[in-house]
Symmetry: C2
Subunit: 499 residues, 2 copies
Amino acid sequence: MHNHKALTIKKLGIDTYRENIIYMRSDCNVCLSEGFTALTRVVVHFGNESIIATLNVVYNELLKHGEAGLSIVAAQRLGVSDGDSIMVSHLQPIASMGLVRSKMYGNELNEAELNQIIYDISTGQYSNIELAAFITATSGNHLSLNEIKGLTSAMVRSGKNLEWNNQLIFDKHCIGGLPGNRTTPIVISIVAAAGLTIPKTSSRAITSPAGTADTMEVMTNVELSIDQMKEVVSKENGCLVWGGSVSLSPADDVLISVEKALDIDSEGQMIASVLSKKKAAGATHVVIDIPVGSTAKVRTKENAYKLISYFEDVADVIGLHVKCVITNGSQPVGKGIGPALEAMDVLSVLRNENNAPEDLKQRALLLAGELLELSENVEKGKGISKAIKILENGSAYKKLISICEAQGRFTEPEFAAFSLDVLAVQSGIVNEIDCRKLAKIAKLSGAPKSHKAGILFHSHLGKQINNGDVLFTIYAEAQGELNYALNYYKTQNNIIRIK
Amino acid sequence: MHNHKALTIKKLGIDTYRENIIYMRSDCNVCLSEGFTALTRVVVHFGNESIIATLNVVYNELLKHGEAGLSIVAAQRLGVSDGDSIMVSHLQPIASMGLVRSKMYGNELNEAELNQIIYDISTGQYSNIELAAFITATSGNHLSLNEIKGLTSAMVRSGKNLEWNNQLIFDKHCIGGLPGNRTTPIVISIVAAAGLTIPKTSSRAITSPAGTADTMEVMTNVELSIDQMKEVVSKENGCLVWGGSVSLSPADDVLISVEKALDIDSEGQMIASVLSKKKAAGATHVVIDIPVGSTAKVRTKENAYKLISYFEDVADVIGLHVKCVITNGSQPVGKGIGPALEAMDVLSVLRNENNAPEDLKQRALLLAGELLELSENVEKGKGISKAIKILENGSAYKKLISICEAQGRFTEPEFAAFSLDVLAVQSGIVNEIDCRKLAKIAKLSGAPKSHKAGILFHSHLGKQINNGDVLFTIYAEAQGELNYALNYYKTQNNIIRIK
């Protein structure tokens, strides 16, 4: 920390999402004496705190002499307000980027090296460009099993680790890729009602129209502190919160925001992301749902078996017991695709309504059954029947409402203001569904950022469709997004193939 | 182009370097109706022009209702000023990013696919994150020979192609990695004086403290239009201009800015970058200087031979005749490292001064000799002696001055205001030099952005050094940068090893 000079913070109110930007005048004496120019990476100091930021240079009267601005996220992270005095200094070159470059050249990274990279990422030292390079260099099949193990351990180490009083802590995870597959709230409700401890932390969507945290946020608060989360679990055996708000794997949260921008979510990164979060959350026993289908994330059984063996090997290294379950990934699950629409499906199953989506119900029961059997309180083969009982007698529904209320509120999901029916232009049987393109329509309609946006799906495989029937309904919170989703649909063939 | 509404441009004057940013109010009706949030990628329309930009949302009174701001580069590219009326619409997903993702998974891209990617990059459709992903996915040894051929052809196609009246057009290139190796201005002066047509376009530094364009800019104007460049060449046989200003390979210029941020410059990208620029500049015969040394870009002779065979194969596909020359890359060339300091070395050689750096002179003569022999006007083996004659009788110096004057000015280089001698702390013989770390010191001192910054090097291999002798002098245009360079030096061992 040499050569920094004081500047006064002027609130500019610019939202750059997650990127720290500092705005300084082109004729600012700090810029001139330090040789800073646009895109220089600098350290901004306030009291004992500091953040790394990228410089944007201002050429007019937005800022007076001696003033500097910060993007909203940067001001929050540094904890400064209007009028506070900050100092700015050069950023020393980030040594771990040399390791990322080495990875680009095909060299295997060891655990200590992955630790260095993940530490620097979790402390906000990488720019978005550098994050994109790390993600790309470790994407596809570029991570060896040893590297995935090292990355997972590094990610566990990068954040907080929760501790629980119980010896057995359960968890479940779906690797995703299947629109509408929102079993988690149902599974947690069933097994928590059965007395298992299952403190569930979920992510927001990476490349899909909704993550469990997005869906739960429609019904309750998901941004809980660790203390609040522990209180909920001690009262209800389970919770349904957003993992990011409890800082279990801060590096993962940073990586996910760039993976989303690149629309990638590759195997090694996924395994490390999933298992590190489970371990950090204190889990001991985890059921993992792996949907397999031609347009799901895992396309063949062979790929699924390879993935399962990786999951088991890495879990072993970090001391987790995992049970992987292959499920059918050939079509959307339930009717809703998008946060609020999926919440409606969840409630419909838990309320044992007549028109509740049977496919979603059966999948949730299967996974809940596996968890109950892992607990060893339930005999092998008897898990599902116990789960059915807890669901059908209303205990699971009561448990969800109790969990939501313990988290601060229960809110009934609602439909979006704008909607549009997409109609069949021929008759026949639904023969094939492109889940990826369907998910894309839901995303273009605004999901997950717009909670009520998405798709209500009416044309599952094998259904008889008549010309003019509603195939699905698009929901959006703004007319522009509705048109945008529809325009994409019109350019595509065979999203729903009728024969 | 649907759903866009007019907004009025308010000049904010924010410099984001090369990234197009649009600033819109959080409660702007376009944001609300289109569902735009921070980091949404949008299309900004003005008359018949449009650019793609990333949204930053403003939460206070920087902008009034109905106003939007653009970063300086975005306003320039779109050609708008204060008060102009723009429209904003959704960006359709960029199809070629799917190909980049496919490359991440190890799939080979064909020429048509590489064309699509390079077209989208050259028209500014990729964000910095997406560019970083493409660069990383094609870095290291991830490009096959066929892909390098395809990438090279795509880059030739992405920009303008110069045409010349002469049948034979000469060019030279050094792949870099050796600080101070500024032979180009000397070589061009010699061969242009000999009557060969050599319209030289050079790049600015990618990861080094100076590119030839940076050095030439100290002495003359390098940002010439194609017409201006042609006029200079028709008068003087040669020119020394910046390639970026004549748009020969616009995709390459975009890629280089991100490669620089990542500090990488890998083989396949380098071959495509070099040969596409030569081809687009209309060259038919090219000499390529490949310095080999333990801390140079190419570290062994074996790597050099592989690189040469790639250069020859790719050149063949696009119809170029190349001659690669392996040179010694074990230490800096000349005394200066940094734009102005290298310009001083160049002038000293051309002026035949007594203390002119002999190593720089010999390298320039070798390369000029190879070019003269390629022309077939000079007998095999007689190239160097002809080059010596042209250099030593002053014709080459006169040619450089004429070229500079034809480009608009000749300016004598000057030393920077701040400097500091780094002294030896032991006596002995200089045994090994870490060129990479030396280059890093020059970069930390501000080169190439600060033209006068850099290093004057006094301790070449084999020199007898006494305790307290000046090993090198650091120059900087600001005290902060001088300290920054010095602080880095203090943390390093063995940049200059004395035995």
